[in-house]
């Protein structure tokens, strides 16, 4: 019997990325072959699968990695309180009991909100240990004045956010202005202080996978703690090929510096089956460390509902319905 350790949210087993000087040479070396990347992404699901108890356990792990998110213009404190309540208790206690997971204090990895909702979230999550992530820097386009973007970070950190999801200026990538991208993310990182910086690349707007790879590297060189695919507002959000390219860059950055960078796919992941594909890819390409919430987060809102249904199916053998699980 393996020892079962109590669940610790956001426990960082690795040193924080201090960043490094911008290395244009390293960018020069970046090669991405789209067809080959797509082939790997599309065939991995045939090479690995998790079924039954393993699937249930993996889905529970996915819950622990979830940044439960609401990012809508009609967000209100009431909406955010409901979300936070769900983050504290994402899976029905009776199900957790049946799964042998009671007493593990299973929560989501974080809640993710706009700046104006931080205060509500801080109150609602008090004592839970669940971190609050705030999207920032003129999310989702990131084109507001630079100093306002920096100030937004400072304000969110001051309001109690311990994770800041910044958006990069996609134009810097599209014009190959790596220095500007580096300077921008570095400034954001400084403004974050102890809060962790997740760099949203907006991959759906970067045109090519090579751009995605280079932007990933620059963000890490500038000190990002996580790199994240999308805002959820682009027409194409997280995909497996994009994920493969970004996490290969994480591996490459680790080879260069020794630092482990987290990864967060966001947008478009709504099925339990889908998230298993991402988890398998993380395990295969980066290893088990990247299945834990300190290095893997999932930006999602409706995914949790599907996971709950699958877990109930595992417990009862019957297919479940969404109304049987509390709203987020």
């Amino acid at each position: 019997m393996a020892t079962i350790s109590p669940f610790k949210p956001s426990a960082h087993s690795h040193a924080r990325n201090p960043g490094m000087a911008l290395s244009l040479d390293a960018l020069e070396d970046v090669r991405v072959n789209l067809s080959a990347v797509e082939r790997r992404a599309s065939t991995l699901g045939g090479r690995r699968t998790v079924k039954k108890a393993h699937q249930a356990a993996w889905l529970l792990k996915a819950v622990s990695c979830m940044d439960l998110t609401t990012l809508s213009g009609d967000d209100t404190p009431g909406r955010v309180r409901r979300l936070c309540a769900k983050a504290r208790q994402p899976v029905r206690p009776d199900l957790l009991k049946s799964l042998g997971m009671e007493g593990r204090n299973l929560t989501t990895g974080a809640v993710c909100v706009y700046h104006s909702m931080i205060e509500t979230a801080v109150t609602a999550l008090e004592g839970s240990g669940i971190p609050i992530a705030a999207v920032s820097t003129g999310f989702p386009a990131g084109l507001s004045p630079f100093d306002l973007r920096v100030k937004e970070i400072e304000a969110s950190v001051a309001a109690g956010a311990s994770e800041i999801d910044i958006v990069i200026t996609r134009g810097h990538v599209l014009t190959g202005n790596w220095q500007a991208l580096y300077d921008e993310v570095k400034a954001f990182r400084e403004a974050c202080r102890d809060a962790h910086l997740k760099a949203i690349l907006g991959t759906g707007e970067l045109g090519t996978l090579r751009n995605v790879a280079k932007a990933s590297l620059v963000a890490m060189m500038a000190g990002a703690d996580f790199i994240k695919t999308s805002t959820g507002k682009e027409s194409v959000n997280a995909t497996l090929p994009v994920t493969l390219v970004m996490i290969r860059m994480i591996r490459s950055y680790q080879e260069m510096t020794g630092y482990k960078i987290g990864y967060k796919p966001a947008g478009g992941i709504s099925l339990a089956k889908d998230i298993l594909g991402y988890q398998i890819m993380m395990k295969e390409e980066l290893g088990d460390d990247w299945l834990q919430p300190d290095l893997f987060r999932i930006g999602a809102s409706s995914l949790l509902g599907d996971i709950e249904r699958q877990l109930e199916h595992f417990v009862t053998g019957r297919y479940s319905a969404d109304f049987r699980h509390p709203l987020a």
Binding site: S5, S35, E38, G46, T49, A56, M101
Partner: protein, 793 residues
Amino acid sequence: MSIAEIFDTMSYGAAPESDELALKWIADHKKKFDLFIGGKWAKAKSACCLDSVNPADGSKLAKISAANAKDVDLAVKAARKAQKDWQALGGHSRARHLYALARAIQRNSRLLAVLETLDNGKSVRETRDIDIPLVARHFYHHAGWAQLQDQEFAGYEPMGVIGQIIPWNFPLLMLAWKIAPAIAAGNTVVLKPAEFTSLTALCFAEICKDAGLPDGVINIITGDGSTGQALVNHPDIDKIAFTGSTEVGREIRKATAGSGKHLTLELGGKSPFIVFEDADLDSAVEGVVDAIWFNQGQVCCAGSRLLLQEGIAEKMIAKLKARMENLRLGDPLDKSIDMGAIVAPVQLKSIDKLVKTGQKEGAQMWQPSWAVPKDGCFYPPTLFTEVEPANTIAQEEIFGPVVVAMTFRTPTEAVQVANNTRYGLAASIWSENINLALDIAPKLDCGVVWINSTNQFDAACGFGGTRESGYGREGGHEGMLEVLKPAYLNKLPLSKPGPSKGRTPASGVATTDLDRTAKMYIGGKQARPDSGYSLPVLSPTGQNLAEVGHGNRKDVRNAVEAARKATGWTNASAHNRAQVLYYIAENLDIRKSEFADRLMQTTGVSRKKATDEVAATIRRLFSYGAWADKYESRVHTPPMRGVTLAMKEALGTVGIICPDENPLLSLISLAAPALAMGNRVVLIASERHPLSATDFYQILETSDMPAGAFNILTGLRDELSDTLAKHDDVTSIWYFGDQKGSQEVELASTENMKQTWVSNGKARNWFDNEQGEGREFLRHATRIKNIWIPYGE
């Protein structure tokens, strides 16, 4: 393991595919299978039978019959009986049958996949995701060729009864590759599956019956090598299609030599996997996984030689080792594994032996830290570094999960190392530079090139090799041409035998003209025969007309060496080659009366006939001047984002042995297509009438034909053709002479597995454009290389 424990460890669990229905199918057949002949299950004449064993656990699955020569005869008779009606059904009706087979295969896809995994040991992931879908795709695609046959292959007809022998590494897929084109074209088949893996073929037989395929169109006879031998030797077989080892392929070539049986051979390989420094290395690592750990490396086109550019070699090896640690090997039915079992203990032993040889010779072996299951036939993924081309494991096909890594410095050296092999099946090129990749692809001596990909297969794209990897193509338009033949071949009469051979060297020519010495033409120069002897050339009335050099093996050697060096001709543009051919025609036209006189003198034809022959020769030269830049390559469209170029390439050095009929016209009818396609030619002139050939030097010398591209020898035909047919640097040999000579040439061709094109004693009417020129000639003068080019940014 509890959910909480899995939650903490995030391990994989077993995810086995059920084998219940496949085992039930076997049990329903009482675990014993008969032969499938004429649409019925037939008891084998011999009581002897073979065990089909699951290599993953050693369990016996079923007993398989062993067909003997009598069973083979019954099967061939059944196929013969069915063939006429099957052909007469017409393309559309056959298309409907193939379509029905494709659908039936899809309906039974999981049964076939699991059965294949049980029988072969390959992972169910591969059978489910690769083998079986490709099988169905093959029948769909070839249903289409049956439908279009009348338009697309007008003037061709099926070969008749085809004997097919397939290997154990892709049992059902190889069956589909063989059967689908054959029956689409109107042939009937007798197929022998490999003795280790017959079950899916037998299941397929049942599917054919259920799908209403007419009796006798497909006959499945199981057995071992002796069954295959009986099939190869059966006199009523029109063609043998074989996939398997080079050793057995060679035996089949010998056994069928001179029989007139058409032959395609898909043999072994030692394919290079070339990684340039500008490749996407992470993707290339996955490429290596697909290249050498696909089907446990038991793949004829496996990328088993990893060629790394020096600058990235260390990095690539480190990435590869990390990747190997993550590979999972185990129960082939587990849906979470990369590698399954090796097909049989004998194969395991052979892999182990070669690996030990590799270690003994000083190469560094590396295997991941995890252990393979002890029960069952398993071998871990294995990487060799510090390997040099001189090592056994760099040259011999291992046919297992073993890759050997070597390095190169420049693109030129990459090509050099890649081509440093007796095989020529496939190659993989990894580079993000399109200029580099497309420059290297044509330079590799092989039949298939995958750019930034590997082990891609599709029914629309031809597959097959060069050198000792065999010849012929399977799949696509080019594959259809291997199961069809030009209809007029049936009508060719036997050629009239020439005068008896073995004339003694003589001297003294009765002539009033100034003495002219007809030498040989080697490397662009007139050359005296090495022997220092001459042969008399007699007129039809027996007069001594002149003497020609009595060529010997050294003259052949010199000519082939000259041809080897004349690469400029192969690399010249098609336009350039056309210009030379037109120029030859022009110069011949100037001297047409002289050539007509010679024909009258040597062959005794009338002036009119002689003049006609010269005129026809000039027309033929024009035809191939025209064809030079018009026998174009195809672009296949497999289901991917990208294209597959079916590039028509020169073969290299072609040996041509000319017939005695129409000595000028037949010489040009054979040499011109070979030259037009960029081959270098070593031609042995008509033994009886060599003077038209020796006169021709002067035309060549005035027509800008580069030195060495076209070499002409004189002498005793079968003496010279034997040396030429045995020469390892001759890629293809064309023999137009008697039946015995045809057989000898084919027997002699086996060492480097050169392609042969022999007349088997049949005569062509060289004046007839259908028989004497065109696509049939061009097809023999080229081979098709399929270059897979996926794209996307």
